[in-house]
Amino acid sequence: MTASGKPLRHWIGAILGTFVAFAPGHADATDVKGRVVGFEHLRNPMWVAAKDPERHGYSFREPVTTVPAAMRKLFPQVSKEICVVALAAAPKAAGKAVSVRVSGGRTTPVTLVVTPGTELRFKNADPFDHRLYGINMTTFPASNTAKGAIRRWTPQEAGRYELRDELAPSLAMWVVAEPTAAAVAMPSNDGRFTIELDEPGQYTLQAYFAGEPVGRPLPVNVERRDVDVSSKPLVLATKPPVEDNTP
């Protein structure tokens, strides 16, 4: 099942982990650990829109009653749709290229915060074509991306960009070009995350969902050692949205 069932792989992992821990590696890198909560109160806008009968997205849609009603909410897949960013006090230079996987009717990640000038590489992991385009954007027109192909795009200016796919109407991705974005992290399924910062300083942790900041920002003072702010989680939402009244 998992790596725990494989002794050889376990030992190899332990050896590599020790090597990585004592390697000089990233000079002056500092990890900020934290977690996000309340994401079960968020709703994926594309899925919510798709359940509208007026959009004729299905011929029947019925709840399975053995699944608790509280679970039958279209909350996002936190590991793909929530992006936590550490905002610096001053603008940052463009970062390294970021890979974005296109598959399964969405991109991974769905929301991404980068500094302007950071190149995005969209890799089509589906066995069929995609045709991404930016809404109201001339710099990212619709173009085919074949199976396994990579399409590159760099947001040059600060702002919020929404990308869609002509061949998959439910696919939506939001790119936020934020000049002060120092680093980003995607939480795990339980909401925990780790942000790796290259430089110490005063930062602000902010979660983004569907291209918009959600929850209150969390100030973090980073010095030469790791910081754990899990005790003060980022609260993304405190109550379910109004549209939950409809199943």
């Binding site: 053995t66 679970m71 399924n189």
Partner: protein, 593 residues
């Protein structure tokens, strides 16, 4: 002739009415046919929609076989607990795939899916069968699609997705622990291809085609229905952009394609709706397409329904009526003529009553009356009139009496200042035309005085037709007058009288011949006979003779005689009266000596 013409008119109206009824029938048939086809198409479209929905529900029920399998649920639960999909080992994936294959193999073929996907809570596809395109795509997932997301959140529903092809998809959650979030989802898919369409067509008895992005993807026809008609869909698909019903309701109005094919389009439910994917049901419209189509499209049952006996009776009746009318029109005037001939031969009558005869026989009657008169004048001789072959000399003038010298003067009463002119001819009533001087007997011709001639109004002379043939038959012409250019001579008079004698027979005041003795104009003595013949024919023809004077008559003859003599270099011109087209007319014949 009137009756047959009327009958022809009746037949023409009947034919036009028959064509009218036929065209109305064709139009009504086509309209009602299209209405029936439209209603049938709408029913077909709804049936296909219900079929798709019902099929999706049945598919969702069939997915329970997978979702309720403990091995499947356990594998998905363990995979969902992994923090990273890469932590899921290959053995788990292979075991899950084997389980899926085993369950699928146990399903009835009619209920089987083309592809099955086992999806972890994170959206990753843990195992799949029937979708070989994704074998080499380790990162393949489905979690972003609303149908899968719904299943991962506790819903069962269907969708239509466009992958490499069009798929009808149904998904339901897989639960491992009650009261918890589903461990994953199981997704079943049917490829919408020709096999899918053919099965749908057989079950719904509807000709159906699926399309997307302006292309026809699949088509299925019930048994015995032509497949080629649906190929026209591609050319008609752009017209859906202007179909408001299609945009609003997802189902179009009836579209008529070529060759009478009618189509109703409907959108497919699901994400494919936004991609313009849909299905079309088609039926062959029953259009006659014009009058000739009535004959070409009639089958044996239609032909058996025709009452042949009635058609034959109508045709024979129409023919019989036509023949009857023709027979009656031919024999009725002939019978009248025959009766008059019998009366004439039996002595009950001396002349033909031409006014009682119809047009062709009336002319015959007039000609025979003239012939009888000439024979009587010739003393019963057997000399027959000779046709001289000249054009009518004054025919047109008789057709226009107000302009003719032989017509009735419009307003020229006899002059009161000239008592001679006003005096009637001897032996004639005041209202009768002035009679010309009777031709005197051969012995007493010289002292005979011409009758006084009533004055006439001056009208333009009738035109003289210059066309004539100079050939002369050489025979004696009964009733013909002749004129010699040599005044006073006798060579020009067959009967031996001379012009001076004849002129002297007039009143001495207004005779019409050339200037002769005592200043009177000479008159050819035979002109008197021509005048009498002419007046009699006019009376026989029912023409008015009031004011038709001998003086004016001779003036016109003289002018025409002179013209003919001058133009043709002859010394004699013979005139004769005859009937032309039911009216009195004159002929002129130059005679070379």
């Amino acid at each position: 002739m009137i009756a047959s013409r009327f009958w022809f008119g009746v037949l023409g109206l009947a034919l036009a009415f028959a064509v009218l009824v036929l065209e109305l029938a064709v139009s009504m048939h086509d309209r009602l046919g299209m209405r029936m086809v439209s209603e049938g198409l709408l029913a077909d479209s709804r049936v296909v929609s219900w079929y798709l929905r019902n099929e999706a529900r049945e598919d969702a029920a069939q997915l329970i076989r997978f979702a309720a399998n403990d091995s499947v649920a356990r594998a998905l639960a363990s995979a969902s607990r992994a923090t990273d999909p890469s932590e899921i080992d290959g053995a788990t994936r292979r075991q899950l795939k084997a389980t899926l294959s085993k369950i699928a193999a146990e399903m009835p073929k009619a209920d089987s899916f083309d592809a099955i996907f086992a999806v972890a809570q994170s959206g990753e596809v843990l195992a799949h069968i029937g979708f070989d395109q994704a074998i080499n795509s380790p990162d393949f997932e489905l979690g972003g699609y609303p149908v899968v997301a719904d299943a991962l959140h506790g819903y069962v529903r269907d969708d239509t997705l466009m992958f490499d092809r069009l798929y009808r998809v149904v998904a339901r959650p897989v639960e491992f622990e009650l009261g918890q979030l589903p461990a994953g989802a199981i997704v079943g898919a049917h490829v919408i291809d020709d096999a899918f369409a053919a099965e749908l067509a057989e079950r719904t008895s509807a000709a159906v085609a699926f399309y997307a992005a302006g292309k026809r993807l699949a088509a299925g026809m019930p048994s015995g229905v032509d497949h080629e008609g649906l190929d026209q869909l591609v050319t008609d698909l752009p017209s859906l952009d202007g179909d408001q019903s299609y945009k609003d309701k997802g189902r179009s109005e009836v579209h008529e394609l070529a060759d009478g094919m009618a189509v109703v389009y409907a959108r497919l439910p699901g994400e494919a709706w936004q991609l313009g994917a849909g299905y079309a049901v088609a039926r062959q419209g029953y259009k006659i397409a014009g009058l000739t189509g009535v004959l070409s499209r009639a089958d044996s049952k239609d032909k058996d329904a025709v009452n042949t006996l009635r058609l034959v009776a109508i045709a024979l009746g129409a023919i019989g009526i036509g023949l009857l009318l023709s027979f009656w029109e031919y024999n009725s005037p002939l019978g009248r003529f025959r009766r008059q001939v019998k009366a004439l031969s039996g002595g009950q009558a001396t002349r033909f009553a031409a006014e009682r005869l119809r047009a062709p026989f009336r002319q015959l009657g007039l000609d025979l009356n003239l012939a009888l008169d000439r024979i009587a004048r010739a003393g019963g001789g057997d000399e027959a009139p000779i046709s001289i072959g000249f054009e009518q000399m004054f025919g047109d003038a008789t057709a226009q009496p107000s302009m003719s010298a032989f017509g009735v003067p419009p307003s020229a009463p006899p002059s009161a200042a000239n008592p001679v002119e006003a005096s009637p001819m001897p032996g004639s009533a005041q209202a009768q035309p002035a009679s010309p001087p009777r031709r005197p007997p051969r012995a007493a011709a010289q002292p005979a005085a011409p009758a006084p001639i009533a004055p006439v109004s001056i009208a333009p002379d009738p035109p003289l037709d210059p066309a004539f043939t100079a050939s002369y038959s050489g025979g004696t012409v009964v009733g013909l007058g002749s004129f010699s250019s040599g005044a006073g001579g006798d060579g020009g008079y067959p009967n031996g009288s001379n012009a001076a004698d004849t002129a002297g027979a007039g009143s001495g005041v207004s005779t019409t011949a050339d200037e002769g003795v005592n200043g009177a104009r000479e008159v050819d003595p035979e002109w008197t006979q021509v005048y009498q013949d002419f007046v009699r024919i006019k009376q026989d023809c029912g023409e008015a003779v009031e004011g038709f004077t001998f003086e004016r008559f001779t003036q016109t003859l003289r002018k025409n005689r002179d013209t003919l003599m001058r133009e043709h270099g002859v010394q004699h011109v013979q005139f004769s009266a005859y009937v032309k087209q039911g009216r009195a007319a004159l002929k002129a014949k130059p005679v070379r000596q």
